[in-house]
Symmetry: C2
């Protein structure tokens, strides 16, 4: 068991109608609010209206930045930062999924400094402080609502990178499972895939941590036991709630104590597919996980089998991989590249970008040759 | 799944030699330090010396209050409060187990107000703010190092009560498993019993929360899988670390999301034994748990069996109770009143105090008759 620091200052408000408390949470920090959201789905499902109602209740002065993309890009971060700087906002309110909240996190540390958002990713800037950030989550997936991480794409440098800093924790996060009722079936499944992948990254990280492993199993089992049911009952409150909370737990550092690090090899490969084909994040991961496991099954057979035993009740690494493939299929996620209509001709460009980005795990490092072998297993 | 707020601002520093960071953590808050500890065991095992070294490294002005008792009493809280008030301390440093840290928590909110410590328990006072509190934990048991609860005894009113408030979270907690190497075998076992009892209180609370149930199983299994081993290897770092972290997780609210409340019937009965016979807290619980389960086995047979299935691999409520008794016996904890040398003549005074204190669970409420029946099962 390795040394660790456990720290998570986010206050998570979870449940039915928790947005009723949004106004008073915002008011703690001031009345000039930068409201950040995505493509406008919140206007169709009523969440925007509820948000504005809360903002009006505290007489907030609101500056809106909308149009954050599903794979968020750094240009939006910089444009929203400018809006926030110019209007000297007291607090940022992000309403949306991982892309919106991740963007808002970087906006929150970019506003107070004379840098662009990407400077944190390139190492040119260090955050000094953050504009307080409050989020309303509208899709269960990334766990960003209760962690210090943010993933942004830079199309110019062809990079999709993660950034982590304690300053970017949300002050408050509001999670009402009802707000996810309108998430379509496919994106609901990708969210489940994402939480399973987060468990994967923790479990295959470095370090021997029995209780954290058991937490991985627990969270995974929620996805396995209730994920498929949810897809058949998209407006079932309790199923939405179970998956939403599991997604938060999968990446709020609960699975990390006692480990040196997570692995993140699967995510770093998945990001390449999103960069090239705009593959939804979760869908990229269900293609990568089976390939990653097959590549590693001779190297760490017992570790893979131990996972399978604890979450699927199977006995070997091979059975574990089959069980994962069956599970991903059962929630209609792609497990081969052809499932996202990328043919053999894609191989060369994927490999090129994998090597350019030096995709690898922190614990299970990948060479150029390893990448080529894993890529072969996508087909 | 019920609405909940998940919030825990304590920064937990866990692992080998983490006390090296104690000085700089204290310095965040000032240099006038109220140092609170117990009967002096920290002077024999070197922890006092390490603490003083850290305090000297930041040129702290230290005011010492020692002698906090294993079942902490309100007089010590008030005396230490007076010392802290008089010397206008900036920060409180608690070095010890649950009794020391619980006392320090109440001291931290009593210093800033014109009240005595018990006024918070009796409802006469509400905390306004808290002197920042930092702890060094020396025994794995109560979980107080990362929660907002404090249990104190009042001999005058013959009460032992719990108090909870967000203001009494530790700012930092330092947990070095090496600091628990000298905890004797019996108290090591009582700590394990305490963490199992905390799982019990969460699991039998009100509300249907599948992931929180799985966390209960996970934490329980750490105790079951490693508890007995630890008693045979008291200076094994990894075993100490597993039990120490499990004890923290058992009562840092990780097992509560989705529930309305815990139960706390077992604890409220156990406190009576401690009040009457100075029974160590953990030892009182292993007597109460089997009796509590036997009393409830006709009322909630499936709930009890589900716990047994998931942590012991057994199938019925009866088998679950036997498995708990065997486990408690295996770590040399008492499971009947005669094991702590209290005979039949004790029955009347125990029942009187149980009824006087109206001991009960929050979820599984107990009448006078229920108490008498549970008490019969102690013998």
């Amino acid at each position: 068991m390795e040394n660790f620091i456990a720290y998570n200052p986010t206050k998570l408000h979870f449940g039915k109608d928790v947005m009723d408390g949004l106004g008073s949470a915002l008011k703690e920090f001031g009345s000039r609010v930068l409201l950040v959201y995505g493509g406008g789905s919140i206007k169709r499902n009523g969440i925007y209206e509820k948000t504005i109602h809360q903002l009006k209740s505290i007489n907030a002065e609101v500056f809106e930045y909308s149009g954050i993309k599903p794979n968020p890009i750094i240009e939006d971060v910089d444009n929203a930062t400018e809006l926030g700087r110019k209007n000297k906002v007291d607090v940022i309110l992000a309403v949306g999924g991982g892309s919106v909240i991740d963007s808002a996190k970087i906006i929150s540390i970019t506003i107070p400094v004379s840098h662009t958002g990407w400077d944190f990713y390139s190492g040119k800037a260090q955050p000094e402080k953050a504009i307080p950030l409050i989020s309303v989550l509208t899709i269960a997936a990334t766990g960003t609502e209760m962690n210090p991480f943010a993933v942004i794409q830079n199309k110019k440098t062809q990079q999709k990178l993660g950034y982590g800093h304690d300053l970017i924790y949300n002050k408050h996060s509001f999670l009402d499972p009802q707000n996810t009722f309108t998430v379509p079936r496919d994106y609901t499944a990708y969210g489940i895939a994402d939480l399973v992948a987060h468990c994967h990254e923790a479990y295959f990280g470095e370090g021997n941590a029995s209780l954290s492993d058991r937490l991985v199993f627990s969270i995974n089992k929620e996805a396995i036991d209730y994920g498929k049911d949810l897809l058949e009952n998209l407006d079932n409150y309790d199923l939405r709630a179970k998956i939403m909370y599991a997604a938060t737990m999968a990446l709020n550092k609960s699975t990390m104590p006692g480990r040196v690090s997570g692995d993140w090899g699967v995510h770093s490969i998945g990001h390449i597919l999103s960069l090239l084909y705009d593959t939804p994040h979760g869908a990229s991961l269900t293609i990568v996980i089976p390939a990653w496991l097959k590549f590693h099954k001779e190297i760490i057979p017992e570790r893979i089998a131990f996972l399978g035993k604890n979450i699927f009740g199977v006995n070997t690494a091979d059975e574990t991989i089959t069980a994962f493939e069956n599970f991903f299929r059962s929630i209609d996620c792609p497990i081969r590249l052809r499932d996202i209509s990328a043919g053999n001709e894609s191989k060369k460009e994927i490999l090129k970008l994998m090597n350019l980005n030096k995709v690898s795990g922190v614990n299970h490092k990948l060479t150029d040759q390893d990448r080529a072998e894993i890529l072969n297993l996508f087909y």
